[in-house]
Amino acid sequence: MTTELQRSPNRRPLQISQLGLHLLIAFLLLLSLVPTAIMINLSFKNGLQYRWERWTLSLPLRGSNYLSAWDVIDAYMINTVLVAVVGLAGVLILSLIGGYVFARMRFPLREPLYYAIIALLMVPWVLSFIPAYMLYNNLGLLNTRWALIIPNVAGGPIFGIFLMRAFITGIPEELYESARCDGAGAWSLIWRITFPLSLPGLATLSVLNFVAEWNSFLWPLVTISDMSKQVISVGLFRLSRTTNDLVDFGSGGPLFAGYVLASIPLVVLFIVLGKFYVEGLVESGIKM
């Protein structure tokens, strides 16, 4: 490798190419922002502007679209946060424990069990759709928030264990050894050592899980009949149907204001956890 490297000339990057690099970054950034910008632009339009000035910026901006949208979707947003947070707590606990078990404990059939769990990642969601509906129905869980929380707590840790195992493997063994010498049991090894050191990993998992919950659509649509318990993606769909965007253009603005509002919690979450998120990914070293 060394000899091969020595053959290539040592070129200092030119200033111009640096500038080009930044221009390229800016261009790509712009490109990726276009649809988001369209969304925000549309969210400030009134009926006429929406019809006549679809793509251009038009004044005055109608901020009240956000109020109308919020009126419709506030309950859905709150419901989703509630369901997602409770579910996430379960997912984090089970993933932390599971990750620890598969990274640090030795027991018969550990590897086959682990691979069986990985295999579950590949089960298409539609496979169990109707049978699961019937199960929830038989247990009287339809139209309750449990119907939204349980699938996440049961299914979320599949990826969670996979991620946390990779992460926990990276924690130096010496830490555990010294704790074991102090007589720490498995339980306290998890809570006193693994947990504080796994925060970045858990942050990563939180972002991924929360985004997935935020987007789940068909399952809540079918299991929740009471609109007062319904979640945001169904709520957005309803907003687009009720305002009848298809033919009634006056309502296009509030619809897009609703889309923007619905994105905000995720943006905030990512900004808050973003640093940890990346750290968690770095340290897990993502091994399969």
Partner: protein, 306 residues
């Protein structure tokens, strides 16, 4: 208590190590139990449904292997498999390369990296329902933004969502917009590469290209591999774009596998057949993953074998 200990020791399960074994099972049991009840019981029911004819309305009826035999005569099954495979073959590698490229660009020591990161990540957290509506806007052949752009530079318009040869590329284009999630993972990987490797390479006289080929890519190979596997699993289950934007058309050009499966169940009222389709999909994804692990996984460079 002693009776239990006796029994345990007779199984060789009384040593401290054995206790640790059992602790492992106990710790993992809530998860296993959850998966069994809420995940595997419905999946097993679906397995049973594979051998039934069931329209959701009247009672299921045992039909043996009919559902599986029907697969081979179903041209739409083959079409959906073809569409999904083509989508995967293009969208996954393209996404991997592009997001890797962007991550490389962003991995310079520029100020405000976290802002860039957030901006790139933004599209992947716009609610799927919203981005579907937005892209229908952009791709419309008569009034869409994309064709307005083509017209501005004097090119003829493209019937993105009506020409079968353009519909899938249009959806792939749309998927690239959500690259941010993959890109952030690369970026994390890149930041995890210790600076010393690059310094060593520079001392050896390596240029940017050499550093990329001999340092970055090998050290990042686990991350690339991770993104590859996750990308394939997700791409074979793509549903929303076909469901909300194209309804599988035009001429079945975007009839994704899961969309066809969903229709088989809820539109054609053939739940048994849908279950068979689902199992076939599971086997395909599983098989592919195993193959990738076998042939690509062996090329992966892991920094230290922990």
């Amino acid at each position: 208590m002693s009776a239990i200990n006796q029994r345990l020791s007779s199984w060789g399960l009384n040593s401290p190590a054995a206790r640790r074994n059992i602790t492992g099972y106990i710790f993992i049991s809530p998860f296993i139990l959850g998966v069994l009840i809420w995940f595997l019981v419905p999946a097993a029911t679906a397995g049973w449904l594979t051998f039934q004819k069931w329209n959701l309305i009247t009672a299921p009826r045992f039909v043996g292997l009919d559902n599986i035999e029907n697969l081979f005569e179903d041209e739409l099954f083959l079409q959906s498999l073809k569409v999904t495979t083509m989508y995967t073959l293009v969208a996954v590698p393209l996404g991997l390369v592009l997001s890797f490229f962007i991550a490389l660009l962003l991995n310079t020591k520029i100020r405000g990296i976290s802002i860039y990161r957030t901006i790139y990540y933004l599209p992947s957290i716009v609610p799927a329902v919203a981005s579907a509506v937005l892209w229908a806007f952009i791709l419309n052949s008569e009034f869409g933004l994309l064709n307005a752009g083509l017209r501005a530079v004097g090119l003829p318009k493209i019937l993105w969502l009506q020409e079968p040869e353009w519909a899938l590329p249009a959806l792939i284009l749309m998927s690239l917009w959500g690259l941010g999630a993959t890109m952030v993972i690369y970026l994390a990987g890149l930041q995890g590469i210790p600076e010393v490797y690059y310094e060593a390479a520079e001392i050896d006289g390596a240029g940017a290209g050499n550093k990329l080929i001999h340092v970055t890519i090998p050290l990042l190979s686990p991350v690339i591999f991770f993104n590859l596997v996750m990308g394939i699993i997700a791409s074979f289950q793509i549903f929303t774009a076909g469901y909300l934007i194209t309804s599988g058309g035009p001429q079945n050009a975007t009839l994704f596998y899961v969309l066809y499966l969903y229709r088989a169940g809820f539109l054609h009222l053939k739940m048994g057949y849908a279950a068979a389709l689902a199992w076939v999909l599971f086997i395909i994804i599983m098989g592919l993953t195993v193959l990738i692990f076998k042939y690509v996984g062996s090329m992966i460079y892991y920094e230290d074998t922990r």
